[in-house]
Symmetry: C2
Subunit: 200 residues, 2 copies
C-alpha cells in the first residue's frame, strides 16, 4: 500500500479544518510528545520562542514519520509570548481567566511553526509571528466572555477563538490570519505546489 | 415595540455570519439599491473606489433606516480594484474565469466600507483596504478550482472564498482578515462598545 500523501502530526481540529478547507485531505496522526519538558529545556537554555516552536513542530513530525515510512508528515506548533513570559493552553476556566487577565491591555506574539518530514529528514519549515493586542476589557466583560465562550476558551494557547467572540477581546490584530489560527498555510501551500503534491 | 438593537442592511451571508460569530445577533434587512448605476456615477466623476464603497455602505444603511425609525442600521460594501479597473461580482462561471484570469499574477485591493445610520443620520463609518496578490496559477489549476469551488466562486466580488480553496489562488494576503471577508469588524466592535451597544 502506498503511504498517504500528507499526514498531519497534530490533534488540532483547527489545523485539520484549515487544511481541509484549502482542499487538502490529510491523514490525522497526532504525535505524542512531552511538550512541557521540551519547552522548559528551551527556556532554560535561554533560546527564543520561535526556535522552540520550530523545534517542536519538527520533533512532532519526526515522531510520526518514524512509524510511517514514505509519508510526508506535517508537524506544527504555536507558542504565546507576552512580556517575555511563555504561556500554555489553559487547563481550566480559572486558568483561562488568569491568563486573559495577564494579557489584558497588552500586545502578545504567537510564534507559529510548521515543518515537513519525510523518511526521517526535515525537508521544509516555516515560522510566522503574528501579533495581537488585547484591549483593556472590563472584569464584567471577561465574566460574560468566559461564560459564553465555554470550552472554546480552553482549546487555544491564548484562551480565545478569534473566529468567535474572542474577537471582542482584541484592540489590534496584525499578521497572517491562518498563522494566528495555528498554521502558516500560505508558505505550506507554496511548498506543496513546488514539490508536486498540489497542482500549480 | 422597541426597535431591534442592530440591523444589517446587507444580504451577505458572510457578513451575517461574522457578526453572529462575534456575538451580535443582527436583524437582517437587505437594502434594494441600484449598485451598478451608483458605481458608474462615481467612476464617471473620477472619484476613488474607497469613497464609492463608503458612499454605497451609507446609502444602503440610509435606505433601510428610512423604514425602521430608531434602529441602528449597518450598511457595508466591498469593491475590487486591480490596475485601475473596478470589478463586480461575476454573474456566472464564465465571468468568474475571465475575472480570475484578469487578476492572475497581480495585486488587487479590496476597499471595504461599513457605515452606521440611525434616524436618517450617519453616525459612524470605517474603511479598510486590504491587498491580495494572486499567484501565476496554471490554466489547469483554474479549471480544477472553478469545478470544485462551484457557486462559492460567484458569491464574492473576487470570485474566491479565502476560507475555502480560494486560498490556493493567492501568493500574498495583507490586511485585516475580517475586512477581506467583507466587514471592518474590529473598528465596528470598538464603536459599538463606545456607544454602549456592547459591554466594554
Amino acid at each position: 500500500m502506498s503511504p498517504p500523501e500528507l499526514v498531519l502530526a497534530s490533534a488540532s481540529a483547527t489545523r485539520a479544518r484549515l487544511l481541509d478547507a484549502a482542499g487538502l485531505k490529510p491523514t490525522i496522526e497526532p504525535a505524542q510528545l512531552d511538550e512541557a519538558a521540551f519547552k522548559a529545556a528551551f527556556k532554560a537554555d535561554g533560546r527564543n520562542a520561535g526556535d522552540c516552536a520550530l523545534a517542536l513542530a519538527e520533533a512532532k513530525a519526526k515522531r510520526v514519520a518514524a512509524r510511517m515510512p514514505g509519508a510526508l508528515v506535517l508537524g506544527a506548533d504555536q507558542l504565546l509570548v507576552c512580556d517575555g513570559q511563555w504561556f500554555d493552553k489553559p487547563a481550566d476556566r480559572d486558568a483561562a481567566r488568569t491568563q486573559l487577565l495577564a494579557l489584558r491591555g497588552k500586545r502578545h506574539v504567537l510564534p507559529t511553526a510548521a515543518a515537513l518530514v519525510k523518511n526521517g529528514a526535515a525537508i521544509w519549515h516555516a515560522l510566522e509571528q503574528p501579533a495581537l493586542t488585547m484591549r483593556p476589557f472590563s472584569d464584567a466583560f471577561l465574566d460574560d466572555y468566559l461564560a459564553t465562550a465555554g470550552d472554546a476558551a480552553l482549546a487555544s494557547v491564548g484562551a480565545y477563538r478569534l473566529e468567535g467572540s474572542g474577537i471582542q477581546l482584541m484592540a489590534e490584530v496584525a499578521g497572517d490570519h491562518f498563522a494566528i489560527l495555528g498554521l502558516p498555510l500560505l508558505p505550506l501551500l507554496e511548498f506543496l505546489r513546488d514539490s508536486g503534491v498540489l497542482k500549480a
